[in-house]
């Protein structure tokens, strides 16, 4: 990922590897390359192959033959474009919410927490101690219409009396935001924590008020964390299906839900494979555009 790639000028300074060093490097790389080859590259080609298959005609469910039927792609795009739209809408919304909640939190932990810093960091990752599915199920209780959260919000008239929160897009986005928040906070924290506090003092000394210093000094310097955090949130969120399945309704389904049902319920492997490939391609394009836009130069 671009966010963690070493600086170009740093690699240039490395002395040229001798033959012996080169061998050591290769030996060290072997386990990782083997792993990637067997569990990533090969399955990727298998998936690509599956995506252009058509039913064998034997009538046995799950039996497909390779016909290089590229029309599969066109078919799934036209059939599931709404799902793609929702996937990216929800994940972008959730990423934006994560950033809005995560940045102040990471800032607080990095600059204002004092001795509570380590405790707060543990609390950020504490949700991982419980199963992902269980936590999402718990949200169903929290957001249920007769649960205490919704009823007290209704009681103070923050939300209309007839509003249903559970099984709504709102609940899905809230669930995704909650589940991926730590992936936003941790890179933001590590980026903010590395900023020399004297730079912030210098910003104040040079007539920048709190907001100006945040906008012109702190935020630009934390860009590596912002890029890493948003990618770590956005990429898995756009492929997520657990939140939509547990917190949504049948009008909030995302691409992940279709892939899941095509693979495991309907046994329609080519459609699932083609969906996966399109999802991957769109994410790739969006990420490249985003990283370009955010300025790879800042990612030091």
């Amino acid at each position: 990922m671009a966010a963690i790639a070493p600086r170009a000028d740093a690699t240039e300074e490395l002395p040229r590897a001798t033959g012996r060093q080169l061998r050591t490097v290769l030996i060290l790389l072997v386990p990782g390359l083997l792993w990637l080859g067997i569990f990533f590259v090969v399955p990727l080609f298998t998936l690509a192959g599956t995506s252009t298959q058509t039913p064998s005609g034997s009538g046995i469910p799950g039996e497909f033959v390779q016909t290089f039927h590229l029309a599969n792609y066109w078919d799934v795009i036209s059939e599931y474009k709404g799902h793609f739209g929702r996937s990216f809408l929800y994940s972008i919304l959730a990423t934006a919410l994560c950033l809005a909640i995560g940045y102040p939190l990471a800032y607080l932990i990095a600059f204002r927490a004092g001795r509570a810093r380590n405790l707060l960091l543990v609390l950020v990752v504490a949700p991982f101690f419980t199963s992902f599915v269980l936590r999402t199920l718990a949200w169903r209780q929290i957001l249920s219409d007769d649960g205490w959260v919704v009823s007290s919000l209704k009681w103070v008239h923050v939300i209309p009396q007839d509003m249903a929160v559970t099984a709504s897009p709102l609940a899905v986005v809230a669930g995704i935001t909650y589940n991926f928040l730590p992936f936003m906070v941790l890179p933001l924290y590590s980026s903010l924590e590395r900023i020399d506090p004297r730079l912030i003092e210098a910003g104040g000394d040079l007539y920048g008020n709190g907001f100006a210093v945040l906008r012109k000094v702190t935020f630009p310097l934390s860009m590596p964390g912002v890029v890493a955090g948003t990618l770590l949130t956005f990429i898995p969120a756009s492929g997520d299906y657990v939140n939509a399945a547990l917190l949504g309704n049948n009008r909030t389904t995302m691409v992940g839900n279709v892939v899941e049902s095509r693979f495991f319920r309907v046994v329609d492997y080519p459609t699932a494979a083609a969906l996966s490939f399109i999802l991957m391609a769109i994410i790739l394009v969006l990420v490249v555009l985003y990283v370009r836009r955010a300025g790879t130069e800042e990612l030091v």
Partner: protein, 385 residues
């Protein structure tokens, strides 16, 4: 050159800063005149940086007040004060170009001709050609000058410099001292310079405040501090001093007579503290060293019975360590005039000096304090060789 708007003096009254149980700055009263080059000198932990940060607004005083002319800035935010800082290690914004670093303060204040003013400031430090570089592409000395330009461009009433030359090597530091002095004269801004390097403070500042344990030990022009230190700390922190314990025995004309191990010496009354337990002080370069038995011109203070225990030939001078009969070692710098022979280890010598070059300090604190101060002074002057 244009000067800062008539703002007046920087006044600190009873300024105290406590960090829980630790008192970093202990009731400082100080007035720094507009346009003055003022240095705060002291060992690390003496409170000089904390004082500076309170003037900058980066720390809030626990007690006391800070005024700029008639303006009370004690509780103002850093961005609300006409004060700028050159930070230790410069604190240049790494994500901005040199030009944008210098323009930062101008843009925040909404100044109109940012481009012209920033360019002028870069020209002042002779680095206009680096405007489009990033700070990481500059050498330490260049970064130092950019940090200066970034602060000076705002024409603050007071410019604070926090050990600005600490990270530079010796040669560059000497060069920057001259440069800083030139710029200060050119822009006419009050400079408050914090340093632990006594030579730096003495070469640049109009006045120096020597600080120790959160208090000002002595304040004055560099020559006053050097020639008439008030305390043993100042005597040892600014250069080297020979301090011989003795007792006041009387007066002789305008001089105090002090007796030490049976030998008498005179100190100008105006340069001697009251009290009977005294330390007779004299700087090593003021002492003449001559063979024992040679006649000493009348009117000079003398100490007889010395033996050279170490002679270091430094080219420009010879540094002698002379042991007196009671076991105390005195340091003597003898300029290499080429007239007299150099003394060898074991030579019996007499030390003599003009009575006007003596100073008398309070003697009761003699024992422990000075070793600490001498160690600090040695540590502070070590990088200069």
């Amino acid at each position: 050159m244009a000067t800062a708007e008539a703002g007046g003096d920087l006044r600190l009254s009873g300024v105290t800063k406590r960090f829980s149980a630790f008192t970093a700055v202990d009731g400082i009263d100080l007035t720094i005149a507009q346009g003055e080059f003022f240095a705060m000198l002291g060992p690390s932990g003496c409170g000089k940086t904390t004082t500076l940060r309170m003037v900058a607004g980066l720390e809030e005083p626990t007690e006391g007040s800070i005024h700029l002319g008639d303006l009370d800035v004690t509780h103002k935010k850093p961005y609300q004060r006409p004060v700028n800082t050159v930070f230790q290690n410069y604190a240049l914004f790494p994500h901005l170009t040199i030009f944008e670093n210098v323009a930062f303060g101008l843009r925040r204040r909404g100044v109109k001709d940012v481009k012209k003013q920033a360019t002028d400031a870069l020209d002042l430090v002779e680095l206009g050609h680096l405007a489009q570089r990033k700070p990481a592409q500059l050498s330490g000395g260049q970064q130092q000058r950019i940090a200066l330009a970034r602060a000076v461009v705002n024409r603050p009433q007071v410019l604070l410099l926090d050990e600005p030359l600490g990270a530079l090597d010796l040669k560059l530091r000497r060069q920057m001292q001259i440069e800083l002095k030139r710029i200060q004269t050119e822009v006419g801004i009050t400079f408050v310079h914090v340093t632990h390097d006594q030579e730096e403070a003495m070469t640049m500042a109009d006045r120096v405040a020597v600080m120790n344990h959160g208090k000002i030990e002595q304040l004055g022009a560099p020559s006053d501090l050097y020639e008439s230190p008030d305390t043993t700390f100042v005597a040892n922190f600014l250069g080297q001093s020979n301090l011989v314990p003795g007792t006041r025995t009387g007066t002789d004309g305008g001089y105090v007579v002090i007796e030490s191990h049976g030998q008498k010496a005179r100190i100008l009354q105006s340069r001697c503290v009251p009290g009977s337990d005294l330390l007779l002080g004299v700087r090593p370069e003021k002492i003449r060293i001559q063979e024992a038995g040679d006649e000493v011109p009348t009117g000079l203070n003398r100490l007889t019975g010395g033996v050279v225990v170490d002679a270091s030939y430094l080219g420009v001078s010879t540094q002698y360590l002379v042991r007196l009969p009671w076991g105390q070692n005195l340091t003597v710098f003898s300029q290499n005039l080429g007239i007299t022979e150099r003394f060898r280890d074991g030579s019996a010598v007499t030390l003599a000096w003009e009575p006007d070059h003596s100073f008398g300090l309070a003697g009761d604190a003699a024992a422990g304090v000075d070793e600490e101060a001498a160690a600090l002074a040695a540590a502070a002057s070590a990088p200069q060789g």
